[in-house]
């Protein structure tokens, strides 16, 4: 009985103490925006969006 009580208490304290805490850092990590790929196929997720001025998009534009 006493042993079981100690076990219960120990496990409870361990469980509560070791719970995952939110630290404000997303897990998995945030997907920061990346430069689009000019010559990617249109269905490629990294393809540059269609714009009125093609020169405004793409790797060159991003690094200008």
């Amino acid at each position: 009985m006493r042993l079981l009580g100690i076990c219960l208490l120990s496990v409870t304290l361990y469980g509560i103490g070791a719970c995952t805490r939110e630290d404000g850092i997303p897990n998995p990590p945030v997907r920061a925006l990346v430069p689009c790929v000019v010559d990617a196929a249109p269905e490629d997720p990294l393809a540059c969006p269609e714009t009125e001025n093609p020169d405004a998009a793409g790797l060159d534009a991003a690094t200008d």
Binding site: L4, C7, L8, V11, T12, G15, I16, A18, C19, T20, E22, D23, G24, I25, P26, N27, P28, P29, V30, R31, A32, L33, V34, P35, C36, E43, P45, L46, A47, C48, P49, T51, A56, A57, G58, L59, A61, A62
Partner: protein, 792 residues
């Protein structure tokens, strides 16, 4: 000197019973013999069949050969007691499976004989049923981690052949959903939400059978697996329980039940209310954004047995779920000033989901009501009849909060929808069973009328405004009704070492759409299985059959409206077809030294118009479609072990491959390249390896249960050709009953994911959204039993 052996085969009621191959019907036969110390049959002995509370259910006398038989017994845990004048009373516990006849041997020795009583705990004998069935008794269910608060879906995943997914979804043997839940012999119709199965609380269950293959002909409609629930009924004493559970994610749940019986009446009522800050499995482990919710459950069973031949049961189950749709915190908004920046793909090549503004308050609310009135009548030796009309209302409302969801930071071109689904089912089932010699013949019919309606409004973002907002809103209502009917005839014949089960069923579904078009689909499903007991403790079995499943009439339309892939002014094409599968399995089960039972099952399936489902983002909604063909194969290993009287365990492992070829319906849900792919694709709900193991220590009111779960990972990647990382999770539960304290409280501590494994059920691709499992979480349960006595 006479040696008396009295062996209460307690094994069946304990964890050892976690796996037993078989086939199944709702009622079964318990038979056996009474003999004396010289193994001579005892004629005229009185044999009583008692429930686990000690209530006498049936009584019979042994025939000239000392045998007795009880027919029409619902599966579950029982105790048999035999008495004869001038002889000692003999008792034996038995766990009756609906899949095969349970046989017991009782020994009533002369009062003046010297006897030796041997009590030992054993694993159950291998079942002689022809299919794959696991039977879980009440004590087993209570000892699992989370105890009676464990959703039925999580109980099911401890069995071989099942894969667990996010939101509590479970998949059996390569099938996506299509699990048939059956309560007291009555199949539960489809829901418009997927949480109904989770609304069936374990505390409502007296015993549970899980069938993953070799289903008899009485089962149709949904054949991925059958979860056969035998609900609790009131006992002679007034008893009950109140419980409070509190733990991680600010989860708090109050629950309780009360039961009583007197004369021909008995009742069992209960309910629960739970709220938490983590209801659905969200797209990230931390932080959890917008995942609060609550659910409520109410259930009641009233029994009235006016005569020894009649029993009327009223069963009601109501469930409400309300939850927020989780938001993915890892997705960032696009920068309108930098159109050259796009979201990256993940390490699997998956495209990022769209950004959902963090003030979006999208919610899903579901109501489920199921009620049935069942009448059972015994004609004695001429059989037993069950007639059960039922009604089910299913309601689900997805509210997208367009004002915020289409706000300033939302992606250009975003579309969201409010979709409210209603489905009402009215129907009835009829079963008739009769025992003729060694045959158990069963026939029956089912009729189900469905009336469904889906109200939808589709909102398009105002991309011309810097603050976004709703540019246009269009909506409408889809109406669908369907009539489903089925009839079956089956026979189970057992003689000596051989058991044969055969049967056939016919199903017809007539679907009526609002535009006047109809769809009729029907199928014939012959099934044949056999078992052979090579030895008393070594049983082999084989099953072949056709499995016809009519399509769910509402899923497809609902999915189209939620995704907004069909113009609000157009009708949703209904082209989904019934699945017809050729199915076969082989199994072998052996008990070694009465302490260990090992089973192996191999199965295979080839399907025409194989069902599959597409999941709708971070919600728990699905849309159905067909592959032209499907194929799957698997091997399952399981072991039940009793180490000591106080220590038992189980383990199982499953290997499977499930593939589909050529999307053949609901093509509006898919991209052209997906439709053009006619190669065999591994299904996204298939997991190559799944394993479970559990260990339970029980000693003087205390129990410790640990469970381990392994999964090699569900599919991910742009073409579903990769898997998410494998995972291994441990759960631990400690329980103790303080019998000497006032009110005799019971305390339990549940630690889920003991070693804080961070893993994903899903990593989102074009087919599903991301869902991560909970990190280590702790819950405490305090229960007070209400043992108020009453008429014995």
């Amino acid at each position: 000197m006479t040696r008396r052996i009295w062996t209460p085969a307690v094994a069946s009621a304990l964890l050892a019973a976690l796996s037993a191959p078989a086939a199944a019907t709702v009622d079964t036969i318990v038979k056996g013999s009474v003999r004396d110390e010289l193994l001579v049959p005892v004629v005229g002995a009185t044999v009583g069949l008692y429930d686990r509370h000690g209530k006498l259910l049936r009584e019979s006398s042994t025939a000239a050969d000392g045998t007795f038989s009880f027919f029409g017994i619902p599966f579950g845990d029982y105790e048999l007691r035999a008495k004869a004048q001038g002889r000692t009373e003999s008792k034996q516990r038995v766990q009756a499976s609906s899949a095969s006849t349970s046989e017991v041997e009782l020994f009533c020795v002369a009062n003046n004989a010297v006897s030796v009583i041997v009590e030992q705990r054993e694993v159950a004998q291998p079942s002689r049923a022809v299919g794959s069935i696991s039977t879980l008794g009440r004590e087993t269910l209570k000892s699992l981690p989370k105890g009676e608060d464990r959703p039925i879906t999580e109980v099911v995943t401890t069995q071989p052949g099942f894969v667990q997914d996010a939101f509590g979804n479970v998949y059996s043997r390569g099938n996506h959903s299509n699990i048939q839940y059956q309560i007291d012999g009555i199949p539960i119709p489809d829901s418009v939400g997927n949480l109904f199965a989770q609304s069936l609380p374990v505390r409502l269950i007296d015993s549970l059978e899980v069938m993953t293959g070799g289903m008899p002909a009485e089962f149709g409609n949904r054949l991925a697996a059958v979860v056969n629930v035998n609900t609790r009924r009131g006992t002679n004493s007034l008893d009950g329980l109140v419980q409070l559970r509190y733990g991680s994610f600010q989860t708090i749940e109050s629950s309780g039940y009360l039961s009583w019986g007197s004369g021909p009446f008995s009742f069992f009522v209960g309910g629960s209310f739970m709220q938490s800050q983590r209801v659905l499995d969200p797209p990230s482990i931390t932080p959890i954004l917008h995942d609060d919710g609550h659910n409520a459950r109410l259930f009641a069973r009233l029994d009235y047995a006016p005569t020894g031949q009649d029993r009327i049961e009223l069963f009601v189950n109501y469930a409400k779920n309300r939850f927020e749709i989780p938001i993915d915190p890892t997705v960032v908004p696009l920068d309108p000033k930098r159109p050259d920046l796009v979201r990256p793909v993940d390490s699997f090549g998956n495209e990022s989901p769209a950004y959902v503004p963090h003030d979006t308050d999208a919610t899903e609310t579901e109501h489920e009501l199921f009620l049935t009135l069942s009448w059972l009548h015994s004609f004695g030796k001429r059989g037993q009849l069950q007639i059960a009309p039922y009604y089910k209302m299913s309601f689900g409302a997805l509210a997208s909060d367009p004002a915020h969801a289409l706000g300033a930071l939302a992606d250009p071109g975003s579309i969201v929808s409010d979709v409210t689904r209603r489905a009402e089912h009215g129907g009835a089932v009829l079963h008739y069973a009769v025992q003729v010699g060694n045959h158990l013949i069963k026939t029956g019919a089912q009729l189900n009328y469905l009336r469904g309606a889906t109200d939808y409004t589709q909102y398009v973002r105002d991309d011309g405004s810097d603050s976004g907002g709703v540019a246009s809103a269009e909506g409408g209502t889809d109406r669908t009704s369907a009539l489903l009917s089925g009839v079956y005839l089956q026979d189970r014949w057992e003689s000596g070492r051989v058991g044969i089960q055969y049967g056939v069923r016919f199903d017809l579904q007539h679907v009526m759409l609002a535009d006047g078009t109809t769809s009729d689909q029907w199928g014939i499903s012959p099934r044949l299985g056999a078992s052979l007991a090579f030895l008393k403790d070594l049983v082999g079995r084989v099953f072949v059959g056709v499995l016809f499943q009519p399509p769910p009439p509402l899923d497809l339309g609902n999915a189209a409206r939620v995704l907004g892939v069909i113009s609000p002014t157009e009708s949703v094409p209904y082209d989904i077809k019934a699945e017809t599968a050729l199915y076969g399995e082989l199994g072998l089960s052996a008990r070694i030294l009465k302490k260990v039972k090992l089973s192996v099952t191999g199965w295979g399936k080839y399907s025409f118009h194989q069902f599959d489902n597409i999941a709708l983002g971070a919600t728990n909604l699905i849309g159905s479609y067909n592959f032209e063909h499907g194929r799957s194969v698997g091997v399952e290993l399981s072991a039940d072990i009793v180490f000591r009287d106080w220590l038992s365990g189980f383990a199982n492992a499953t290997w499977l491959i499930a593939q589909g070829q050529g999307i053949s319906s609901a093509k509006f849900l898919f991209a052209p390249d997906q439709l053009a792919d006619t190669s065999w694709q591994t299904l996204d709900h298939a997991q190559t390896w799944t394993a479970n193991a559990g260990l339970t220590v029980q000693y003087s009111g205390a129990s410790v249960t640990s469970m381990a779960t392994y999964g090699s990972g569900l599919r991910t990647g742009p073409t579903n050709d990769q898997t998410v990382p494998h995972h291994l999770r441990f759960d631990l539960t400690l329980q103790y009953s303080f019998e000497k304290l006032p009110l005799r409280p019971r305390l339990a501590i549940d630690i889920i994911n003991l070693f804080d494994s961070h893993y994903a059920y899903r990593i989102g691709n074009a087919f599903v959204g991301s869902s991560y499992a909970a990190p280590r979480s702790v819950f405490a349960r305090l229960a007070i039993p209400l043992d108020l006595g009453g008429t014995p």
